[in-house]
């Protein structure tokens, strides 16, 4: 990729649009760390939107009258969509694959795909090019990011976009914390005269 990026408002429309269309079509809010979580949580029971009481009632009804009575024979388009969305849960991690493949395919199609040993001029300036230090920094950063996003229940997409857009207090707080921490880290680099 060359250094030309989309204007901010085009990126905002694209990412905001994806954050709107993805829940509509897949039934899940946009959030990358949740996808990582689902990779590790296969087989473990999750928080369900249905209350415990409701779930117990449904189980008792099914036990008493059989599974057939649970099927709504006058199922309308809406609940079919709902059922289909829930069925697509298992294949969610493919989203992560798409995140790598998509830019690669576009880069190849446009002819601007380049292999690179660096993340940028400033990255090399700070840590050096493809040596022990930059690699160690990235691994440690990754651990902090991976562990921290699970602890916080989301990342820049899950909290920063989806949660904040919904006005969720937990997302607003968590986003404020990680954003200011990142700015604080940059401030520390600045104080040490490092770009």
């Amino acid at each position: 990729m060359n250094g030309e990026f989309w204007p901010w408002w085009w990126g905002a429309l694209a990412i905001g649009g994806i954050a709107t269309a993805y829940p509509l079509i897949s039934g899940r809010m946009l959030g990358v760390s949740s996808l990582y979580a689902s990779l590790f949580e296969r087989g473990r029971p999750r928080r369900e939107p249905v209350s415990e009481f409701e779930a117990a009632l449904m189980a008792a009804t099914e036990a008493e009258f059989g599974a057939d009575v649970m099927k709504d024979t006058t199922e309308d388009a809406r609940s079919k969509l709902s059922r289909w969305r829930l069925g697509a849960e298992a294949v969610r991690p493919l989203f992560l694959v798409g995140m790598i493949v998509g830019p690669a395919l576009l880069g190849l199609a446009l002819g601007d795909f380049r292999w690179s040993l660096t993340l940028g001029k400033d990255f090399d300036g700070r840590y050096g090019t493809f040596g022990a230090l930059p690699i160690a920094v990235l691994v440690v950063s990754g651990i902090l990011i991976g562990f921290g996003t699970r602890l916080g229940g989301g990342c820049t997409s899950g909290h920063g976009i989806s949660g904040v857009a919904r006005g969720q207090s937990g997302s607003l707080v968590t986003t404020a914390v990680f954003w200011s921490t990142a700015l604080g880290a940059a401030w520390i680099f600045y104080l040490f005269g490092v770009r």
Partner: protein
């Protein structure tokens, strides 16, 4: 069909992250040092567009079955935010942009992604509930 949809949206999101500049380390440094407004504007604009879009979608009849759980303030959010923020400050990367970086040929993002997987693996092994933190807040 579900697989195709996940792949497609993943592709779109990866493209948007890389082409908008969100996955670029140098652009991120410019943002953190308040030299450029680009990524701040991108973040704010994205939140605004998503707020509008989700307000419509989540209030529409088509919201049936969309899993949009409340995100309440919790201890994990503060500690997790500190750790994630530190990682972001050091590497200019988040879980999403690391993948977009891989997709644009930045091989060192393999190390970041390996770290993210390791961080997830460690989280599975630590009993965070001992500290009053939920294991499931990502759901």
């Amino acid at each position: 069909m579900g697989s195709l949809i996940q792949l497609l949206f993943g592709c779109l999101f990866g493209v948007a992250l890389s082409r908008s500049g969100a996955a670029d380390f140098d652009k991120m440094v410019s943002m953190f040092r308040f030299e450029e407004v680009h990524l701040f504007a991108l973040a704010g604009g994205t939140a605004a567009v998503a707020a509008l879009g989700l307000a419509v979608v989540l209030r529409s009849p088509w919201s049936a079955g969309i899993r949009a759980l409340p995100r309440t303030i919790h201890r994990g959010g503060v500690f997790g935010g500190l750790l994630f923020g530190a990682g972001w400050g050091l590497s200019g990367t988040c879980p999403g942009t690391a993948l977009a970086q891989l997709g644009t040929g930045h091989v060192v993002a393999l190390f970041t992604t390996a770290g993210i997987l390791l961080g997830n693996w460690l989280f599975e092994r630590v009993d965070v509930t001992r500290f009053g933190i939920s294991r499931d807040s990502c759901n």
